[in-house]
């Protein structure tokens, strides 16, 4: 932050996951904002955005939940910072839908018993880092560059899609994560599965789906030579991190080509691709890596509360 320029201040909507299973994302986000001298004030009395279940059951419910949260956010100064990809998607979708559909807006305003405030910019942490704070300044503020760390940046489904709604980056071929990683001194790798689905909340109802999809993501990251994967979504983190053990139990200790030709050799095991060990891949939140690079105390970033231990890798790269 250059002297004399106004400090960046944000209102903050953490969402349910960040207060529970994704606690590391929350504490590392706060640590990062502190390290970058940016203000972050939690919206008082916020509640669930409705996530995937609400809009699957009732669109009006899902829009109303977000509209109410957006109204609450008006009470805190600054653009609304959101870390969770699903909360981000729901809040952006609500703004988008209600701005384009007057009838829907009327329904929602009846439901929440008052006018809906749609004007506050909703910003994902990635956007705040790359655009508001700026890549150049990010680079200047580095205390501990992530030298030699090969990172597969994983976008998942919601950050950039659908077209025209989140407006974060190119819908199918984004680069914002790689840009940030480069600014942090890390080495973003090129890989194939950065936009594929991890299985999301099927992790509870049909874990088999998640094992298959997450395996494909982990495997392609390993094949591309990644040391770790970086995510910006608590659910992606959960699936990729927690399910590694289950994947090994189901598919064995060696990577195998899962990508068969449905018209030829279907689901071939041990296919043409180079087989590798199904080694563990630590999964980081963007905020954990960024905060680490900005010199935040590693003990406060939640590295000990994840399943696939990232500390050996970080020690190996002299980052701990």
């Amino acid at each position: 932050m250059t002297a004399g320029k106004k400090r960046l201040n944000y209102s903050y909507y953490p969402g349910c996951s960040l207060h529970a299973s994704g606690r590391e994302y929350d504490i590392s986000t706060r640590a990062l904002f502190k390290a970058l001298n940016m203000g972050l004030k939690e919206v008082p009395d916020w509640f669930c955005c409705g996530a995937t279940p609400a809009h699957n059951v009732d669109e009006l419910l899902s829009l109303s939940l977000c509209a109410k949260n957006l109204n609450l956010a008006e009470e805190v100064e600054g653009d609304l910072a959101v870390a969770c990809a699903a909360c981000f998607s729901r809040l952006k979708t609500t703004q988008h839908r209600l701005k384009e559909d007057g009838n829907k807006l009327k329904q929602v305003e009846t439901a929440i018993d008052g006018p809906a405030a749609l004007g506050k910019p909703v910003k994902h942490i990635l956007e705040i880092l790359a655009r508001d704070f700026g890549l150049a300044k990010l680079e200047q503020n580095i205390k501990k560059p992530l030298m030699g760390l090969k990172v597969a940046s994983y976008y998942g489904c919601l950050l950039t899609r659908p077209p025209g709604v989140p407006d974060l980056d190119d819908c199918e071929d984004p680069s914002i994560m790689e840009d940030i990683l480069r600014a942090l001194g890390a080495e973003p790798i090129k890989w194939s599965h950065r936009m594929e689905c991890c299985g999301a909340n099927f992790t509870l109802s049909r874990p088999g789906v998640v094992l298959k999809l997450s395996n494909a993501i982990l495997e392609s990251a390993r094949l591309a030579g990644a040391d770790c994967i970086m995510v910006a979504c608590p659910l992606c983190h959960g699936n990729l991190d927690i399910r590694q053990q289950g994947i090994k139990e189901l598919y064995g200790n060696r990577d195998s080509s899962l990508f068969g030709n449905i018209f030829g050799s279907e689901m071939q095991q041990g296919g043409d691709g180079p087989a590798t060990d199904r080694r563990d891949l630590p999964i980081f939140y963007i905020t954990q890596l960024a905060a680490l690079a900005m010199g935040a105390t590693p003990e406060g970033l939640g590295f000990e509360s994840v399943i696939t231990d990232p500390k050996p890798l970080l020690r190996d790269k002299h980052l701990l």
């Binding site: 190119d170 819908c171 199918e172 194939s192 594929e196 449905i262 180079p274």
Partner: protein, 665 residues
């Protein structure tokens, strides 16, 4: 007192649905100076026109207002009818109560009031109008054809065969365009070069055709029948008169490894080159950026070996100005290069397909070159990365086309058919290979087209998968194609050796700039606009300029050739007359009041204003005034609005007429 007649048209229900036409006619009858008014279901029909004629002669009308559609639609019709009844045609005007009123309003009461107001205005205009005589202009019976692809070639040959002179201007060193690049053509699989090259030779040999290749149209001035075009003939560095086309310069040129655009960058050429062996003219051109002589001043091998001494390193661009009477625009298309999003463009890229980073992901035109006997592989299907024969080829249709979220919503029209053709060519050349096609819909309207596509599926064993591809990525030496089969409802992954994308057909680079030079309109995709989508499909709204081929919108060869011949027929119709009549809506300078400030000259978009010296009988200059050349004046009225002393006026739109219209409101 004037005797104006007002005729209100129902236009079926187009007008009467939202305008009470009887009421409008009745109100018109009450306007002072209106001697007759009526309404009729279809004024443009024969009985409608007769009604008008009869009223003019019986009621002794001295002016007519037809309240109906846009004057662009039927002004000519009604003026002709009025003239037939003995009225000066320029005293017949139209009140547009359809496009400007009934089509855009819903409330009948308000619509009726507005229609009445429009009629009131036009009555005032006609009342203050003067009888005018049409202007006649001579026709230069020579046509300019811009673009030497199949469209331009066909148009040029047709016009030349009718006995008229043609100037054909082509930007590249050879004519032939995209069609010369194709291997075989749908739906008959005849070899493109075999049907194309004879026509190219005909152009070169035709006594009525002047061919300028490696040349560009720089400026177009004038108007129908009388255009003046400036053409820049770029320096070839080879004298076209002296060169015999022996080709020894090319065999001796030491720079041999320059990617050849004609082969989509996959073949190699020398620095002095013809794009392909059948080029017309068969005169090489030196690519100065890659020529050692031009870059370092040392070499000159081509000049040394050239027998007739045709190589001329000192040659400069030549600029010629030609007079022509008509212009056929046939500048063709380009294929969407799907890389990342182009800077400043509304069109998104396709980074997720890895085009440009995965060597074996190619576009349809590259596949044509691979399949062509004259191509870089001699007609063998070999993949660019390692030269191996691909055994699994995935074709993806609609890449860029019909993709609103990527910025292009139109269908490129030719891809369904050429992809079906590609699968056949592949099957004919690689018998143990398998072709897959991802498609949204198979669109095959055209003679013999659907049969052709069915043949690809049923006899040539192409597997068609209805669904789009989300991503391509390299895995070992394979390309993984991730897509969906929406008929079966499953995700599909295919490991392909080669991926061919049917990328969108787009307007040529610089199409907008050429349109601005010509003064023709274009759509948001830079395709040129025809005057009427159905009834004037080859004419531009600008008189004397015609369209042929894909510059107007994506088109296949049969459609392109049809349109080119149609454009040629329009040119011949124009050339069948020695004189053209045009509307006398031109500006006239009142020399008595003009002070010669020439502000009008600065603002005239047509360059019609000249300086004129007023001299007394002894020849002494009394004063300088402006003069408007009626042949060049476009009748826009900008001078009239600019003139500080109000001494220039547009016939038919005089200040008196316009003030009367305003006062009537």
């Amino acid at each position: 007192m004037s005797r104006i007649g007002v005729f209100v048209c129902h236009c079926g229900e187009n007008i009467s649905r939202t305008v009470d036409v009887e009421q409008v006619a009745k109100a018109a009858g009450d306007i002072p100076g209106v001697a007759y008014s009526c309404d009729y279901k279809y004024m443009c029909s024969d009985p409608g026109q007769n009604l008008l004629k009869k009223a003019v002669s019986e009621q002794k009308l001295d002016g007519v207002v037809v309240a109906a559609c846009s004057p662009r639609m039927h002004e000519k019709t009604f003026r002709k009818a009025a003239a037939a009844a003995g009225l000066n045609q320029y005293l017949c005007d139209m009140a547009n109560i359809r496009e400007h009123c009934s089509w855009v309003h819903e409330d009948k009461k308000l619509g009726t009031a507005k229609a009445s107001d429009i009629v009131k205005l036009m009555v005032q205009r006609v009342k203050k109008g003067k009888a005018l005589a049409p202007i006649t202009v001579p026709v230069t019976k020579k046509a300019l054809v811009i673009g030497g692809g199949i469209a331009g070639i066909q148009a040029a040959l047709d016009i030349a065969d009718a006995g008229h002179q043609v100037l054909l201007v082509e930007r590249d060193p050879s004519i032939g365009g995209h069609m010369a690049q194709l291997s075989e053509t749908f739906p008959t699989l005849d070899c493109s070069q075999c049907i194309m090259t004879p026509k190219m030779v005909d152009v070169a040999n035709h006594p009525n055709i002047t061919l300028y290749t490696f040349a560009e149209v720089e400026k177009v001035e004038g108007y129908i029948g009388n255009f003046s075009v400036t053409v820049r003939r770029k320096a070839r560095s080879v004298d076209e008169e002296k060169c015999t086309g022996c080709g020894i310069c090319m065999t001796k040129c030491p720079k041999k490894k320059i990617p050849n655009d004609f082969d989509q960058g996959h073949g190699l050429r020398t620095a002095i080159y013809v794009p392909f062996p059948q080029a017309v003219p068969n005169t090489p051109v030196i690519d100065r950026e890659n020529c050692t002589m031009f870059q370092s001043g040392k070499c000159g091998v081509c000049a040394k070996v050239c027998g007739p001494g045709a190589v001329d390193f000192q040659q400069e661009d030549r600029v010629t100005v030609e007079a022509v009477g008509a212009v056929v625009v046939a500048t063709g298309f380009k294929l969407y290069s799907i890389d990342r999003k182009p800077e400043g463009s509304a069109i998104q890229g396709y980074g997720e397909f890895g085009y440009g980073t995965i060597p074996d992901v190619i576009d349809g035109m590259t596949f044509e070159r691979l399949a062509s006997a004259s191509g870089p592989t001699g007609g063998r299907i070999l993949r660019p990365s390692d030269g191996r024969e691909p055994k699994q080829v995935v074709f993806i249709q609609c890449v860029g086309s019909r993709a609103r979220e990527k910025g292009i919503s139109y269908c490129s029209k030719v891809c369904c058919m050429y992809t079906a053709k590609h699968t056949m060519l592949y099957h004919h050349k690689v018998h143990d290979g398998q072709a897959y096609v991802f498609y949204m819909d198979a669109r095959t309207p055209g003679k013999g087209y659907d049969e052709f596509w069915r043949r690809a599926v049923e006899e040539e064993e192409a597997v068609y998968i209805r669904g789009m591809v989300s991503r391509l990525y390299q895995k070992g030496d394979k390309i993984v194609v991730m897509g969906s089969d929406t008929l079966v409802g499953v995700q599909v992954e295919i490991e392909a050796d080669l991926v061919v994308m049917a990328t969108a057909v787009q307007a040529q680079d610089g199409a907008d700039l050429l349109a601005q030079k010509l003064g023709i309109s274009y759509d948001k995709y830079n395709f040129y606009s025809e005057a009427h989508a159905k009834l004037k499909p080859v004419e531009c709204a600008t008189a004397g300029i015609y369209l042929a081929g894909a510059c107007q919108g994506p088109k296949d060869i049969p459609d392109t050739v049809s349109q080119a011949s149609a454009a040629a027929a329009k040119v011949m119709t124009l050339f069948s007359k020695d004189q053209l009549e045009r509307d006398p809506v031109v500006a006239k300078v009142n020399e008595k009041y003009c002070v010669g400030c020439l502000a009008c000259k600065k603002v005239c978009p047509y360059g019609a204003v000249e300086e004129k010296g007023i001299r007394d009988r002894q020849g002494n200059l009394v004063k300088v005034t402006a003069y408007v050349n009626p042949g060049v004046c476009g009748g826009c009225g900008t001078c009239q609005a600019t003139c500080p002393s109000k001494s220039v006026e547009l016939d038919g739109y005089t200040d008196e007429q316009i003030m009367a219209m305003i006062e009537a409101l």
